[in-house]
Every structure is written in C-alpha cells, then in structure tokens.
C-alpha cells in the first residue's frame, strides 16, 4: 500500500508535482501514467525518501519511508538501471546492498538466478547491455523479497524480447500477490500490464481508476458499417441524429454516438443490406492524448495531419 496525500514538490518557481493524492492498492499492478516530464520520477523519488516533498506526505504501509526498518524488505524499486558502479561486478553490487539490510548472501545468488544473470554475475556491470542492466536493476528491487515493487519506465529502450520478459515478470509478481507500481508514458504498455491506473499530467492528478474504466471514459467509440446502400443508410442514420462520416479509401461509414444495435435496427427498418457492422475504438494513445492534451510539458505545435477521414456528402 502506497498512499500519497497532497504531495507537492517545487524546484524554484517550477512545480514538478502539484498536490498529488493517490493510493496504490495491495496485490495489484498499478500503472503510473503520464507524459514525459509529468512528475512521475520525482514522485517515485519522494516515495523512496530520496527527494524531500515541499509539502504533503507519502506513506508506505502506513509509515513514512524513513521510518521503515530494513526498507529493502518492504519495498523494492528500480528507478534507474544505470545506478551501479561500472567497474563493480553485478554480484558485488548486490552483496553490499544485501549487507545493509542483513539479507543473506544466498539471496544474492537467488535473485541473480531469477533474472537470468547468474552466468555474468562476476563481470563488471559497466559492460552490461541495457537489457542486462535492467535485469540487474530488477534483481536489486527483488533482493529483499518485498511485498511492494516499484519500477520507473522499465521497458524504455528495451528490445522486443526484453519488453516481453519484463511484462511477463511483472505479471508473475502480481500473481504472487505483490503490489506493483510501474510508470510509463505509454498507455498501450500500461493496458497490457496494469489493472489500475494513476494518470498525471504536469504534476497534477488527472485520473485514478481501473484501466478498463479509463479506456472506456477516454476513448470515443465509433461504429463502422459497410453496405452497398451507403447513401440510403446515411440518410436514415442522419434522421436518427447520428453523426456519419465516410472513410475515403474503403467507402465504409463511421458512425459516432450510437450503438451497433441502433445502427442494425435503422438498417433493418430501411431494408438496407449490411456487409459489416463493428465497434471501432479510438486508439488508446488517442484517448490518452485527449486527456493529457493540455498537461503535456513540452508541447509542440502540431503539424497539420493529412485528411484521411472526410465528412460525407
């Protein structure tokens, strides 16, 4: 359980995290979603007591981080996989860390085995690829066998194999009943792994809900219809107050603000033959963009998009 209440962090005039309140429920994967620069990493550093909040509090299992005895046994974290001395071996890195929280050396070999680094454990960590560094970071997080795990952008920069491995690993951790709090700037990534979402933009909370709710609320659904009698159906739907567009390449109709049932009934009433009737969701990325639009830190002026969808005549 992680609970933030009114968490705020200012750097000079800049507010990195702004009155943020959320909770991460135990035994679930919670995604921490926001555009780059939204304050995700700052928030995670405050959870670990590395950065000091300007105001507000954050508690781990009801305690401030600095009150935790042997914190590696409560909460494990991977904030930056490059936080290792490049000339120190992976095993030595884990050994000193284990020693601080009185974890046995045996545990070091267990986690190296778990992340698949046992064979390179005595090699200097500076020579590791990003994927191997990320595995070492995860080994670091797992060291104290904690019930809460926190990962900051764990798939960033990884190849598909690495991404697949991390996703699987997080699912396994959740299946073991652990609490996982994982950040990303990609909603599609979160949709694959997280059950709950905490969405922030410019340091402010935008939404806390389940992933399914977020996608439902955020995405506009369209009904896609293909019919040889497009003109007739379009007119009939217009009478039913539906907004209809024609997809240029295929000639299919895209109807917004209605259900498939309604379109089917309108078509049947008008004796229109349907070749296809389907719900089409706006992509998750579009949904996310819509919600965080004015919360993006470094905004660019959008280039005019080529017009793929035009209003029907």
């Amino acid at each position: 359980m992680i609970e933030a209440r009114g968490l705020t962090r200012r750097y000079g005039n800049k507010v990195a995290v702004d009155d943020l309140s959320f909770s991460v429920r135990p035994g679930r994967v919670t995604g921490f979603l926001g555009p780059n620069g939204a304050g995700k990493s700052t928030t995670m550093r405050m959870i670990l007591g590395l950065d000091r909040p300007t105001s507000g509090t954050v508690r781990v299992n009801g305690q401030a981080y600095h009150e935790l005895d042997q914190p590696l046994r409560r909460i494990g974290a991977l904030l930056d996989a490059k936080w290792v001395h490049p000339n120190r071996s992976a095993r030595a890195h884990l050994r000193w860390l284990a020693r601080t929280n009185r974890l046995p050396d045996r545990r070091v070999d267990e986690v190296l085995e778990a992340v698949g680094l046992a064979a390179v454990a005595n090699r200097p960590a500076g020579g590791f690829s990003l994927g191997m560094s990320q595995r070492l970071g995860i080994a670091t997080a797992l060291l104290g066998d904690p019930e809460i795990l926190m990962f900051d952008e764990p798939v960033n920069g990884l190849d598909p194999e690495g991404i697949r491995w991390i996703r699987g690993f997080m699912r396994d951790l959740a299946a073991q009943g652990r609490t996982v709090f994982v950040s990303s700037h990609l909603l599609s990534e979160m949709a694959q792994t997280a059950e709950d979402l905490v969405v922030i933009g410019r340091g402010k909370l935008i939404s806390q809900c389940t992933t399914a709710e977020f996608i439902d609320n955020a995405s506009e659904s369209l009904v896609r219809v293909r019919t040889p009698q497009a003109e007739e159906l379009r007119a009939a739907l217009a009478r039913a107050d539906a907004e209809v567009r024609v997809e240029v390449e295929t000639g299919a109709l895209l109807v917004s603000g209605v259900t498939t049932q309604l379109v089917g009934e309108v078509a049947a009433a008008g004796g229109v033959v349907l070749h296809e009737l389907a719900v089409e969701r706006a992509s998750l990325e579009q949904a996310f963009m819509r919600l965080t639009d004015d919360a993006v830190e470094y905004q660019t002026t959008a280039l005019p998009a080529p017009e793929l969808v035009t209003a029907g005549r």
Partner: protein, 247 residues
C-alpha cells in the same frame, strides 16, 4: 541496522573496485620511496633524524585524501548513493559507517607507510640511530596514523559537500599544498593565522619544532586534537547537509 553490517557493506563497496587499491598501495609506497631517496642522498657519516625520514608522509596523505574523497564522489557520480540511501534511509548511519571504514583503512595505511619508511631508512643508513625512543620520534612515526585518519575524515566531508570528483579533489589537493603554506604571506596576521590552518597543525603535531610554525600557541598534542576537531566538525556539517539535500 547494526553498525557492523553497514561497515561490512561499505567495505564490499570500497574493495570491489580497483582505484582504492591503487590509491592505498601508492599511499604506502610513496612515503617509503621518499624515505629511501632522502637517506640515499644524505651524507653517509652524518646521522639523519626520524623526522627527516618521515617527510614523505605528505605524499601518502595526498593519496589518502584522494582515496577517501573518491569513496564518496564516485557514489554520487554513478547514482549508488541513492541506492545506499534507499537501503538506509537514515543516511547518517550509512555515511558514518563509510567514514569509519575509510578512516580506519587510512590509519592502517599511515602506520604501514611510517613504519616502512623507518625500517628502510634504518637498513640503508646504519650510522643513524633511528628508533622510537623519544616522544618526538614516537609522534613522528606512529602519529602518521591518526593524521591519515583525520585527513580521510576531512576528505569524506568535502566529498559529501561537493559531491563531484574534480571539484572535491582540486579543493583537497590545492588547500593543503598551496593555500595553507601561503597564508603566512598575508601581512601582519598571516603568521599567526597560519598555525590555525588544519594541515599546518597536523604537520606541527608530527614534526614539532621542525614544522613551519615559528611561534606555536598549541603543543603538538593539542595541535592533533585541533586537527581532529576540525575534521569532526566538518563531517558533522556534511552529514546535516547530506540529510537535507535531495539524494
């Protein structure tokens, strides 16, 4: 979290990379090398004093300063200080463990360097009666250990305050080598201020009346106490700052 575990963690850190080994090795070899050179260039029929033989302690001290400062600044450089504070959120206990370890190693290095210098000189220069008979001789030889201990404490403190290798090392090398010796150049008050410079005080402790202070206020023993107090004071400031700052 017991102190033993934290010191053990710090010793894994210190000895699992190469540069501390090199620094410590050189910190022992250079003073002995200096003693060898001093004795060989000395007239064979004139006795050399223990103090002359130990002059090279300054080279060892420089390397101990480097070793101790790097033990802190490389942690900031590579982000392992954050991991350390994540594991030991009280921060001070981890930093005190590091200080204790680094200072302890520095003391051992100082002892080996000083006894090594004395040993080499007695073999190479049999005419001199080199030994630990007088209080001055005891201080000049065994005193190198506490001087290295408190030098390491100063270097850890400066490393914590500056958090950056280049800056910390520049400060730690320029200060004792250039700033302190040149303080006496300041008109009227310079001579008086100089003896309150920490490394000048340490030198006064080791070399007594042969040090650069013309008219010392402090006895050699008090000079060491003063040097120790400065180092502990600086460390206390550094610990407070490290607790307050973002990691």
């Amino acid at each position: 979290m017991s102190a033993v575990n934290l010191i053990s963690a710090e010793s894994i850190k210190l000895f699992s990379t190469r540069s501390p080994w090199w620094c410590n090795l050189l910190a022992m070899v250079l003073p002995v090398g200096f003693a060898t050179a001093a004795v060989l260039s000395w007239p064979t029929d004139v006795p050399i004093s223990v103090t002359e033989v130990q002059m090279g302690y300054q080279f060892g001290m420089m390397l101990v300063l480097v070793m101790a400062a790097l033990a802190v600044t490389t942690e900031y450089r590579f982000g392992t200080m954050r991991t350390t504070f994540q594991a030991v959120p009280g921060r001070s206990s981890a930093l005190l463990a590091k200080t204790a370890l680094v200072a302890g190693v520095a003391g051992l290095v100082g002892l080996v360097a000083a006894l090594g210098s004395l040993g080499v000189a007695s073999v190479l220069h049999p005419v001199s009666d080199l030994g630990l008979g007088t209080a001055d001789e005891l201080r000049a030889v065994l005193g190198v250990a506490p001087v290295f201990v408190f030098s390491a404490v100063i270097a850890v403190a400066v490393g914590l305050l500056v958090r950056q290798s280049a800056g910390a090392l520049a400060l730690l090398l320029v200060w004792p080598m250039l700033v302190e010796p040149l303080v006496s150049v300041i008109p009227t008050v310079g001579e008086h201020i100089q003896q309150w410079m920490p490394f000048v005080a340490a030198d006064h402790f080791l070399r007594g009346e042969r040090s650069m202070i013309a008219d010392p206020v402090l006895s050699p023993a008090m000079a060491l106490a003063y040097f120790a107090a400065v180092s502990v004071g600086l460390l206390a400031v550094a610990l407070v700052v490290a607790r307050r700052r973002d990691a």
